[in-house]
Amino acid sequence: MPKKPKIPGLLKGLGVTFGTFVDTVTDGAQTVQYPHEKETPPIRARGVIALHEGNCTACMLCSRSCPDWCIYIEGHKQLAPPRRAGGKPRQVNHLDRFDIDYALCMYCGICVEVCPFDALFWSPEYEYSEPKIADLLHDKDKLGEWMETVPEAPDLEAGAGK
């Protein structure tokens, strides 16, 4: 292999910046002009946490495991009609309030991990900034709306047990 002539590092450095300059002028920049064009976030991006209200049993596990204490849950016990005719009415937890304060949330995802009933999901949606910080407190209706943006779970790997 022929020995390459040695270029001083100072000139090489100038070459790198000039090369990037030419690339940007000819092929465009690596960045996108955000509000006009958007990059799709990866499917597992941690954008916002969505709540599937029907699955929630107000068990408080997420609230207790939250490092920032940013999940507020209130519920009460009530009687539900029996499953079979002639049975006793069941006692169930009813969810009255489920708020996540995104001004506090640090997107650790522990609540999603810890939920035993698959009621919390990550959604890649990220455009929910607010002019007022109090509006970052998403109630359960708003958290429920985020469910529409939750992507389908990817298929399991071949051979993975259910």
């Binding site: 450095g13 100038l14 790198v16 990037t20 002028v25 920049a29 690596q30």
Partner: protein, 352 residues
């Protein structure tokens, strides 16, 4: 001074000169900031830079100036307020004093000093004073450190700059900037006069030394110890806000433009084109056609932008010198080299 067909009263001439000076300082400064600081820097980092204000962000500077103008003009509690407030003006003043001697054409200049280059080198150092008192009066340790570093650096690099111009002065045989331009465009290199004799060829070492010294004088990046933002917040500019910060900012880039003007006069032939092409006589500036007074500024601006492009290119490419490396480089390398350059130039000048 340009001879007009109608007689202009003295106040009119003064007004014209003031407006001309403002244009000659602020227009290049704005152009430099937009073309190089906003756009070239962004492209070199593979991004687009400002794109929203005006077509391709060309009005971004107007937006920035508007933003700075409406900010509060703060002074720290323990600052020496009158001095603190006047410091940026002194820095900008040296830029305006510099443009005074720059000739843009055979008759298009503000003043025509016999020792123009001497004057330019002298008032170029006035900005050190402004920077030093800005650092001192801010009552802030970062500002003080920045100001002291700036003073040490600017004095250290003033020397190679002066010594590099000495080579040009020896070769041109004059300290008058217009005569230096004439000497380059009228001269010949070993009998070949088709290109004139731009001193960048015969004084290449001097050109390199001068450009390095200019880079340091402007505190552009490899030499930006005084405003090293990772160590000193923003050096001597730390406490300034609003309009006074804007003045520092303008001064930085306007001085870049003016020093590039001076470098293009000293080494690239200034406003001139080789006089041989049109049969002008270098000994008598009156023989130079009048349209050079219009073409001259354009030629000068082109050369200035090329030189500033190089300054900015270096700025965006290199990391910062350490303080001791910076001083060692000036005192142990550049100054001996420029002294050797002067000696060689003098010997060659006498022997040829």
């Amino acid at each position: 001074m340009v001879q007009f067909a109608i007689e202009i009263p003295y106040w009119g001439q003064s007004l014209l000169r003031v407006v001309g000076g403002l244009v000659a300082v602020l227009l290049p400064a704005g152009g430099i900031v937009y073309l190089f600081l906003f756009k070239m820097m962004s492209f070199m980092q593979s991004r687009l830079g400002p794109m929203e204000a005006g077509p391709y962000g060309s009005l971004q500077l107007v937006a920035e100036v508007g933003k700075w103008m409406q900010k509060e003009d703060l002074a720290p509690e323990r600052a020496d307020v009158p001095i603190y407030k006047i410091a940026p003006l002194i820095v900008l003043l040296s830029t305006f004093l510099l443009i005074v001697v720059v000739p843009f054409g055979p008759d298009a200049y503000f003043t025509d000093f016999e020792t123009g280059i001497f004057y330019a080198m002298a008032v170029g150092s006035v900005s050190v004073l402004g920077i030093l008192i800005a650092g001192w009066s801010s009552a802030n340790k970062y500002s003080l450190l920045g100001g002291l570093r700036a003073a040490g650096q600017l004095i250290a690099y003033e020397l190679p700059m002066v010594l590099a111009t000495l080579g040009v002065v020896i070769q041109a045989g004059s300290m008058n900037l217009n005569q230096i331009v004439v000497a380059q465009n009228d001269g010949e290199i070993f009998g070949f006069g088709g290109l004139g004799n731009p001193f960048i060829i015969t004084q290449f070492v001097g050109f390199l030394i001068f450009m390095i010294a200019v880079q340091a004088e402007l505190t552009q990046v490899p030499f930006d110890m005084p405003i090293a933002e990772s160590e000193l917040v923003s050096g001597y500019m730390t406490e300034y806000s609003g309009f006074r910060f804007l003045i520092f900012f303008i001064a930085e880039f306007a001085t870049a433009g003016v020093f590039a003007f001076i470098a293009s006069i000293l080494f690239l032939g200034g406003w001139g084109i080789p006089f041989d092409w049109f049969g002008w006589d270098g000994a008598d500036l009156g023989t130079v056609d009048n349209w050079m007074n219009v073409a001259g500024p354009i030629i000068m601006a082109t050369k200035m932008f090329i030189l500033v492009a190089i300054i900015m290119w270096v700025r965006f490419s290199y990391p910062r010198f350490r303080e001791d490396q910076l001083q060692t480089f000036a005192w142990k390398f550049l100054i001996p080299l420029s002294l050797a350059n002067i000696a060689a130039t003098a010997i060659l000048k006498v022997s040829f």
